[in-house]
Symmetry: C2
Subunit: 191 residues, 2 copies
Amino acid sequence: MDRQNSSSNTRTKILEAASRLFYEQGYHLTGINQVIAEADVAKASFYYHFCSKEDLCVAYLEQRHQDWFGWLREEVERSREPLERLLGLFTFLERWLANSDFRGCAFLNIIADFPSSYHRIRQLVVSHKDALQAYIAQLVDHLGCSDSDNNLSHLVNTIYLLFEGTICQCQMYRTTEFIQDTRETVRKLIS
Amino acid sequence: MDRQNSSSNTRTKILEAASRLFYEQGYHLTGINQVIAEADVAKASFYYHFCSKEDLCVAYLEQRHQDWFGWLREEVERSREPLERLLGLFTFLERWLANSDFRGCAFLNIIADFPSSYHRIRQLVVSHKDALQAYIAQLVDHLGCSDSDNNLSHLVNTIYLLFEGTICQCQMYRTTEFIQDTRETVRKLIS
DNA sequence: AAAATTGTAGACAAACCTGTCTGTACGAAA
DNA sequence: TTTCGTACAGACAGGTTTGTCTACAATTTT
């Protein structure tokens, strides 16, 4: 119909294929040729929309950031009760892990794939995690706890670490059973 | 002098170069050619000692497991006081991070580099983390706490998650300041 | 001294990588 | 009708990858 639409269809097809492959196989094991084959797109079309593989990686991370936060918010904000919302972080993990393609945090995985010197990629990952910590801080704020200030930021950091640790643990052991325990720990930390 | 020695010298040089490169650059960004160049060894010598790159990776992980646990034990067992020992886990992290080449957990990084289907590598990582959890459990045991049984395994898991989460956090933010906070959290969890 | 073991040097093969290029097609807009 | 934007197919270049191969050297064992 309109070229606007058809143009972004091709770009979208590429980005979707790349997202799946980068996440499931890692960046370096995924070649451009595989991406365009799975996206069913010509190589020239790929280089029309993206100027390099690294550029594609940046686009992948930016979109992944949007998508993932959308999923997280959807699960957390299912309830209106502040404590339930906070614990919803871990309910989200349970659901996420249930996905057959779960392979841990896309951002931590990408960081592992590159040496420390890829600042452009690193920066995206740091931004993502900053946003996650800010979101947790917001959830903790809404609890309306009357702890001393310092303790609150303590609490945020502890919950963040538990969250991150759980993702890593799930990536290796592929089981959700201990998440219930973690939820208990968080409940205890608050009271 | 003896062939035992000279044979293992070549192998050791290769393994040392590979360890450094795999850890700092990741597996796929490190080529065999770079490994043998930095080890100052001929390619045929490499394939005399290792039958493939993946084989080298396995050797790398096995040695890394030994080395890393050695470092951890050395720091933790510096004190004879059970609580100090447990908290020593996080003192170890502070020292480890101070190394200029710190780039997070070698085992988690390797897992990120491979798709889930590399079972041989995955198994090594799982074994490593099993050993870490067992070690933490042992440290918690020696505290002689009289919590109910269930709570103790809870506690072990929580400390493990905090440990893992802290490693990831350090890999991104490259600062040790919040480790002190984590130590406080652990202290609070125990009492 | 002869033979076997252990290791070295580096050319080579075959496959793969990213990225470029040429040339074509087709709809929409000017 | 011409021009522009988007997309196609696929050959190609230049470089890298892992892994093999042959020939040679040093040392140890027989």
